[in-house]
């Protein structure tokens, strides 16, 4: 997993609520058996017409906007558990998603792929959208170490929460699986004790 600490980047604004993972990557693109290449179909049906031509009014096709940070309306990533949604965002170059509310499974999938989901209050989310409206090149400064997100053009800043273990993983590029594998003795003991309990 790629390490992540500070990021200074312009923003891709997506002020839509309840963005589900079927929109992030539609089911018909889930037939691959590797993690690569999903970025080209990120937001496929919002981004392209059925003939493959770009929809000019969609933000990913608007040359004004770009960067490593996606800022989206609340309840981002709801629905299907498909981790392909996180792979598609990552493959497209997104390192951070900011919203006022994330769906559980997506949040976990993002963290497991080195993407940082940042939850901010509704009011701060609104401030970011306003700043982008005033200047599409608005940048955010994000520091994972300090758990802070700052709108550079206005100076407004906001702290965010993250589980200390997950923070350590992102800062160092560690996977949960490394940690779980290191517990094999404890897992074996748990199984043995449970079997004994059942046969007593």
């Amino acid at each position: 997993m790629k390490k992540l600490n500070t990021i200074d980047s312009s923003i891709i604004p997506l002020p839509i609520e309840d963005v589900d993972t079927d929109q992030i990557i539609p089911a018909r693109f889930l037939k691959a058996t590797t993690k690569a290449g999903f970025g080209e179909n990120l937001f496929r049906d919002w981004r392209y017409h059925s003939d493959g031509s770009p929809k000019q009014d969609f933000v990913l096709n608007n040359p004004l906007y770009g960067g490593e940070i996606l800022v989206a309306g609340k309840n981002f990533g709801c629905g299907s558990s498909r981790e392909h949604a996180a792979w598609a965002l990552q493959d497209f170059g997104i390192r951070i998603v900011v919203s006022s509310f994330f769906a559980d499974i997506f949040k976990g999938n993002a963290l497991n792929n080195g993407i940082l989901p940042i939850t901010v209050p509704d009011s701060f989310l609104h401030e970011i959208f306003e700043a982008i409206e005033n200047d599409p090149k608005t940048e955010l400064h994000i520091s994972l170490e300090d758990q802070i997100v700052e709108i550079k053009s206005t100076g407004a800043s906001q702290n965010f929460e993250i589980d200390p273990y997950k923070k350590m993983c992102l800062l160092n590029g560690y996977d949960d699986i490394d940690y779980l594998l290191s517990l094999s003795d404890k897992i074996n003991t748990f199984e043995t004790e449970r079997t004994n309990l059942k046969t007593e």
């Binding site: 058996t33 709801c78 629905g79 976990g108 949960d176």
Partner: protein, 463 residues
């Protein structure tokens, strides 16, 4: 000592370790695997040069990507064929039991688990599929996971998790005639919204939930994720034990008696405290339909599509534009052209019996194309034995083979762009049933009646 919830009792019995930050290592009793969310996980094991830790605790099937016609022939679509083949190879290489295409036990992962007796009360269960919450109907902690977590479970039989909060939803009173389990859960979601359950694990309780069959309970628990909840569960009782008894992988003989005496301890104590409690009155629940592009955008059939709320009007307008509908409009009598009866929400034998009993001797509207997709080979076999296939075919329904089918349109079963489909599935997202398709979620009875009439009906007036 303070009483415990059903959820706490099962969770605590599975905690292997705890981190300082509060994250817990949870042991997983049963892992279910399908072709779409597992190939990258098996590849991860290969990359690390490790094996599946407890292959006997994992069962696989092919469901999302399989055709529902001519399953005996090779899959025509190349990428689908390769993905299903990959699952077969992975299961062989890592020693995982596979009920693949052509196997008499093949079917939707959340249909075959219960019907084979794999799903049992008190278990922890996971699958790389958000509708894993279905198994909660048996009093299990069951939830969907991403592919990284599939890899973690394959490698260690454990997951690193933060413990969700607990919510209890009681449904009391008496249901109106024609109102089914599907309507109960669509009603609850419409009240809580698509995000209202996030962070919670829900226990469904109350006399109405108790009175449901196992099939009905599975329908309710299945859609817990549609309000963002990690899972939903129902305390096991005689209905549960009667369903599990005698199934292929259920405990037998003395082991059965021991299991049942343990399962009888699985309920929320009278003084157990929930982080949130809600009570619904069954009499308030009408046959439900959705009008928007998430399952929270639903309403009773006699209602009108609401006016947009100021703060969310962009998203609301976008949804209605996609659906070709207006605020203030009713869905009653709205013409439709497609009906899909199937999915892990409503494809069990009880659903098929209900649909067949309603459509027997009737004929679907000439403007409607209607499909019934059984949840598993065993459901299909049972339906054929009972003659349901003949009744459905005579009524004009296309009776298919088992799979996820038009619930998510990964195979060729898609709804054309712009068409309205009354669907017994679980998601009405944009493009879910095919690019541009317009999904209206409803119960199997509402779907069957709408197929006959060629428009959305109030089934209460027809039975």
């Amino acid at each position: 000592m303070m009483g415990k919830t059903l959820f706490d009792k099962i969770w605590e019995a599975h905690v292997v370790d705890q981190l300082e930050s509060g994250l817990q290592v949870l042991y997983i009793d049963q892992h279910l695997v399908h072709e779409v969310t597992s190939p990258q996980a098996f590849q991860g094991l290969r990359d690390r040069n490790i094996s599946v830790a407890r292959p006997e605790r994992t069962v696989a099937t092919a469901d999302h990507n399989v055709p529902t016609k001519d399953q005996h022939l090779p899959i025509r679509e190349e990428l689908s064929r390769l993905q299903v083949k990959k699952l077969t190879e992975n299961c062989e290489e890592f020693g995982v039991t596979l009920y693949g295409l052509g196997h008499p036990y093949q079917g939707i992962v959340h249909v075959i688990g219960p019907e084979l007796g794999i799903t049992q009360p008190g278990m922890t269960m996971v699958c790389g599929d958000s509708h894993t919450s279905t198994h909660g109907a048996f009093g299990t902690i069951a939830f969907g996971i991403g592919t990284s977590q599939v890899e973690q479970v394959l490698a260690t039989q454990c997951l690193l998790l933060s413990k969700p909060k607990r919510m209890r939803i009681k449904v009391e009173g008496t249901l109106q005639k024609g109102v089914l389990a599907k309507d109960i859960i669509l009603h609850i979601i419409s009240q809580l919204t698509a995000a209202g359950g996030t962070g919670y694990f829900i226990e469904y309780a109350g006399e109405v939930i108790r009175s449901l069959s196992m099939e009905g309970r599975m329908t309710v628990c299945n859609m817990s994720i549609e309000m963002g909840a990690r899972g939903g569960m129902i305390a096991p009782d005689e209905t549960t034990f009667d369903y599990v008894r005698g199934r292929e992988q259920a405990p037998q003989g003395e082991a059965w008696d021991q299991a049942v005496s343990h399962w009888r301890t699985l309920y929320s104590d009278a003084d157990a405290v929930f982080d949130k409690e809600l009570i619904f009155n069954a009499a308030d629940i009408e046959p439900m339909v959705t009008y928007g592009t998430n399952p929270g955008m639903g309403m009773g059939i006699s209602n009108q599509i609401p006016q947009p709320v100021k703060n969310v009007s962009d998203s609301f307008d976008k949804a209605l534009r996609y659906m070709g509908l207006q605020p203030g409009e009713k869905l009653l009598d709205h013409p439709i052209s497609h009906v899909f009866i199937g999915s892990c929400t409503n494809s069990r034998i009880e659903d098929l019996r209900l649909v067949a009993s309603y459509v027997a001797g009737k004929r679907i509207s000439p403007n409607v194309s209607a499909m019934v997709v059984p949840g598993s080979q065993q459901v299909r076999k049972q339906a054929v034995q009972e003659g349901l296939d003949r009744i459905l075919s005579e009524a004009g329904f296309d009776f298919r083979e088992a799979g996820c089918s038009a619930c998510l349109g990964m195979n060729e079963d898609k709804i054309p762009a712009g068409k309205y489909c009354v669907s017994t599935s679980n998601r009405n997202y944009e493009g879910r049933q095919g690019p541009g398709a317009r999904t209206i979620l409803a119960s199997p009875l509402m779907a069957a009646a709408s197929a006959i009439e060629g428009k959305i009906v109030d089934v209460r007036e027809l039975i």
